[in-house]
């Protein structure tokens, strides 16, 4: 083989790193931001963009784990309950034990990982569909979270986690840390999914678990790891949630977040049937949803109207994918 041919192969070892869905999403976000910038001059200012990025972080971060779970053909509807457990546990530790930043993060991540392990073991070894198991564990986690809450709210949370927060302590060079961490972890996950055997095996499992097993992929372990990873990320995201809130944490924390995360994943182009997806798309999906929410408020519309747009985005994103698949079949 000639050196030239070899170089050419080395350059094109994988299909294009960016999917069509991601390009479209970037386009939609750019157009949306431009439109908002024109209609409300306050939009393209640090005071508006920074909160937008901060608010995107938790959903996008959990979305990394959820994307991998969905790529394997599963789903996790218990993340709302898991957020509640991790955040109340951490908030209590901050208030009552006055733990430092590192301990708080470690505690939250460890708690999340443990909850993910429960899901993972039941799903990988119990041979029951993920949606049913996680509907069940969602209730169990909420019970656990409410028990830790005791009665009412957790009050007087100190600013230990301000590093992840909305304030000036939460930014470096104007970039919110929570968002930065999310972007870095998304990039790491993107590399891992694309360039390691372990990462590629998630796609194989989602394509055909039985065939993957025959090819020597350790399916159960891989599936387990996807749920544990999601749990770990829920733990970190819970720290973001505490830091972004006020000094009071109430019992509604995490409620409905599982659907928000799934929505971001789906808008990002990941197939709910498994085998195909991208964490980059999920980040963009989460950013788009948050941009709409932010835009709706800044335009002075009812904030809940943004949910209508989320619904429409899901239909359009998945509908376009369905049409593409149909066109491919008819080709």
């Amino acid at each position: 083989m000639t050196a030239v041919a070899e170089a050419k192969i080395r350059k094109r070892v994988l299909p294009s790193p960016v999917t069509g869905q991601e390009v479209v999403l970037v386009g939609v976000i750019v157009v949306l931001w431009a439109a908002l910038a024109v209609s409300t001059p306050a939009f393209l200012t640090a005071g508006s963009i920074q909160p937008l990025l901060v608010a995107t972080a938790p959903v996008a971060l959990i979305g990394v784990g959820m994307t991998i779970v969905i790529i394997t053909g599963g789903i996790d509807v218990s993340v709302g309950g898991a957020i509640m457990v991790c955040s109340v546990l951490t908030a209590k530790a901050l208030v009552e034990a006055e733990v430092g930043l590192a301990v708080a993060v470690l505690l939250s991540v460890a708690a999340g990982g443990l909850l993910g392990l429960v899901n993972g073991v039941l799903i990988a070894y119990g041979r029951v569909h993920a949606i049913i198991i996680t509907f069940g564990t969602a209730n169990l986690f909420m019970f656990l979270g409410l028990r830790i809450f005791g009665s009412g709210t957790v009050n007087g949370i100190p600013g230990t986690l301000a590093f992840f927060g909305r304030g000036p302590d939460g930014r470096t060079l104007g970039v919110p840390h929570a968002f930065l961490i999310t972007v870095l972890l998304t990039a790491a996950a993107w590399w891992w999914l694309r360039h390691t055997a372990g990462g590629r095996h998630f796609f194989a499992i989602g394509g055909d678990a039985q065939a993957a097993r025959l090819a020597g992929v350790r399916v159960q372990r891989r599936v387990l790891s996807a749920y544990v990873l999601t749990g770990l990320l829920v733990g970190l995201a819970s720290c973001f949630v505490i830091a972004q809130g006020t000094s009071t944490l109430d019992q509604s924390v995490g409620a409905g977040k599982e659907l928000a995360v799934i929505a971001a994943v789906v808008i990002g182009g990941t197939s709910i049937m498994g085998g195909r997806g991208s964490v980059l798309g999920t980040l963009l999906g989460a950013l788009l949803v948050q941009s709409v929410a932010s835009g709706v408020t800044q335009l002075g519309w009812r904030s809940q109207l943004s949910d209508l747009f989320v619904g429409i985005f899901i239909i359009v994103a998945v509908g376009a994918d369905l049409l593409r698949a149909r066109a491919r079949r008819n080709r």
């Binding site: 039941l122 209730n139 409620a255 709910i272 949910d307 619904g311």
Partner: protein, 343 residues
């Protein structure tokens, strides 16, 4: 003995019946021992049934769409309850329509919202989870925006609270506890209608057929798409009726009635699965869903008396989650052990 175990493991209805008896006996014993904060007796059990009305109705709605197969599920039922409830609020509370017409219109509107789901899933080919996630967001948003976030609680709406009252049964009513009116006006008609639909009509047969084997149904000349579409329409229609019940219970049409907290869809799906409806489609019976509702309602009612303050509502979550995981793992086990079972 092993035969009895086998029946318990493979016949969901038998298992649920045994669990109900166990739950009721447990609380009766606890009551006799004085461990409960209030008496757990037939009157209490009967009054608790009011919470069974929306739960069982939405459980049946979920059952219809899950039965239709191909990953059938409806996450939007709670949002339909909210939105249809607001429509009912307008029609009956603001525009002064007669009650029967307002109920009819609300049910029809629910069916219309369900038709959107059905169209997306059956005719366009969306995965049900995605389509109904999208409409969940859309309907939820519309319900809040439609009346500028305000509930409707005009006088006619407030008077509807009477739906929730308990009534004495005719003839032998003095010997048995009073029963919530909603059981007779909404739940029983729905249970009977769904049972008749599934067990006695050609449509029911078609629904089981497409849920069991989509491809074979097509080769047998069945209208697969139309049948699946209608399952979502019926689910929407039932959700519309639940909207009326919910407005009555709250004495107010609340824009977040079906989606506040964890919403109504999750408990409804849980009830359906617990009642033995297979998530893969084609398997499930009305009796299973009804018994699963009774189990959860009476278990919850007992738990409320066993704990002080809001601890009770917390332990209800534990009970629901534990029962669901237990039932799901049991399904997995029986499928391996006995190679799957029909009912």
């Amino acid at each position: 003995m092993s035969r009895a175990v086998r029946i318990l493991l493979t016949q969901r209805i038998a298992l649920l019946a045994v669990l109900i008896v166990a739950v009721v006996v447990t609380f009766f014993v606890n009551d006799a021992g004085g461990y409960l904060t209030a008496p757990y007796d037939f009157d209490y059990m009967s009054a608790a049934l009011i919470t069974a009305v929306p739960l069982a109705m939405l459980g049946l709605a979920e059952m219809l769409v899950i039965l239709s197969g191909r990953g059938g599920i409806d996450l939007s039922v709670g949002a339909i309850v909210s939105l249809a409830g607001m429509v009912f609020g307008f029609a009956y509370g603001e525009w002064g329509w007669p009650l029967w017409l307002a109920i009819l219109a609300t049910a029809g509107f629910g069916a219309l919202l369900g038709a959107v789901n059905g169209f997306l899933v059956s005719y366009i080919g969306f995965p049900a989870l995605i389509a109904t996630l999208a409409t969940f967001y859309a309907y939820k948003s519309l319900a809040i925006v439609i009346n500028d976030q305000q509930p409707i609680s005009t006088e006619p709406i407030q008077e509807l609270f009477s739906i929730s009252r308990s009534v004495e049964l005719p003839l032998f009513g003095e010997y048995v506890p009073d029963v919530p009116l909603g059981i007779f006006t909404f739940l029983l008609p729905t249970v009977v209608a769904v049972w008749v639909l599934l067990a006695r009509t050609a449509y029911g047969r078609r629904l089981y057929a497409i849920g069991t084997n989509d491809v074979a149904a097509r080769w047998a000349g069945l209208p697969v798409k139309d049948t699946r579409f209608k399952a979502y329409v019926y689910a929407g229609l039932i959700s519309g009726l639940v909207a009326v019940v919910t407005v009555g219970q709250f004495a107010s049409a609340r824009p977040d009635a079906g989606v506040s907290g964890n919403g109504m869809a999750l408990p409804a799906i849980t009830i359906a699965v617990l009642g033995g409806v297979a998530i893969t489609g084609g398997i499930g019976r009305v009796a299973g869903v009804v018994l699963a509702t009774l189990l959860i309602v009476w278990l919850n009612a007992g738990i409320l008396l066993a704990f002080v303050g809001n601890e009770g509502s917390q332990y209800q979550l534990l009970a629901l989650g534990a029962v669901l995981v237990f039932a799901a793992l049991l399904n997995g086990l029986t499928n391996r052990r006995y190679g799957g079972s029909a009912s």
